[in-house]
Symmetry: C2
DNA sequence: AGAATCTGATTGCAAGATGCCACCGGGTTG
DNA sequence: CAACCCGGTGGCATCTTGCAATCAGATTCT
């Protein structure tokens, strides 16, 4: 009868900030979404071993279960391997792109980020809403299986971000080599 | 010697998203900042009793300590009361405004928010960067004590958001009264 | 065929975080 | 001088996290 007390949803409040924190307010959920979104990691094992932060398998299993229950992620069988599951972002998950852009921008400005890992955040923030839209459209193709009329053969936002990351890595490696060789 | 292992900063990675989560990745930190930012709650007791979510005093004390250590918040004595402390947002904290705007927009779209608590998020998202800038400038005045040349006597962004919230509340109350009286 | 490997997980356990509530010592107010 | 307000602490039960070992089924290698 009381509409504020639903069966399985004792929310602390109806505030958007609070409700978002109830879903994403921990140290791992957004890391998982980040890796699916920017790293295109779609299998349990890829998510487990691919992230630099080193998530534990039980935590990963739990977070995937929660994200699944919250509808940010969907799960499907991999036809090429009867045991593999493919995790995909839903529209709800894809629309976190602007949130990542802002968080990335704030973190890059105020926290001790490494250059190669912040280049993506920098480009995403500089790109603005039009780039976010393009990226989300791209994610809809790869995660929701929606074909797009445009951008045939184009590099794609994710790949461009990845390329920028690798470019910085390469530059830093060569600089390190040069300095180790005594070239200034 | 190993530059990846600093004295007191064993970060999981240098990724901006990750570093932000290490600072704000829990269910309470952003609630505290939200109340300081949008509710103008500056004292311990206001923060303790003012939030709808009901934070515990030890958690609040711990979060204020952390936010202080991270430099998102500053603490000063209240001249009017020797026992009171005034907590203020720093520039680092103030610049979370765009993050709140995006999180609020996402939460409003995808989660079961209450109308009166999401009106602020709606206005903030619709206002776009120019409104965010105005709000941040306003926060700099009230939290950093910087005087601004412009907007003398203007209503102010925070007050406008608050007014919109109360307007919805009032409308809902009168609607409830009307429907209870059978006026459909 | 059989062994090794890979798959998405689960379990046990220790440590830490959270939630709740009582309480504290000092300052202020009536 | 008593009542109340102030930021904050301490105890304690419970929930969450982190880590390593492990699992059963599917696949691949030899």
């Amino acid at each position: 009868m009381n509409e504020t007390r639903k069966t399985a949803a004792p929310h602390r409040s109806g505030c958007p900030i609070n409700l978002t924190l109830e879903v994403l307010g921990d140290k791992w959920s957004l890391i998982v979404v980040r890796d699916m979104m920017f790293g295109d990691r779609r299998h349990f094992r890829e998510l487990l071993t691919g992230s630099e932060e080193g998530i534990a398998s039980n935590i990963l299993a739990d977070r995937l279960r929660r994200l699944l229950a919250e509808g940010l992620v969907s799960k499907a069988d991999d036809p090429s391997h009867k045991q593999k599951s493919i995790y995909s972002l839903t529209e709800k998950g894809i629309e976190l792109v602007p949130v990542f852009a802002m968080i990335g921008a704030w973190g890059s400005k105020w926290l001790p980020v490494s250059e190669e890992l912040s280049i993506r955040a920098k480009l995403l923030a500089e790109g603005g809403p039009s780039l976010w839209d393009a990226f989300m459209e791209e994610l809809r193709e790869t995660h929701l299986g929606l074909a797009s009329a445009q951008n045939a053969g184009e590099p794609g936002v994710r790949m461009r971000l990845q390329a920028a990351y690798e470019e910085v890595l390469a530059r830093k490696a060569s600089t390190a080599l040069a300095s180790r060789a005594g070239v200034v």
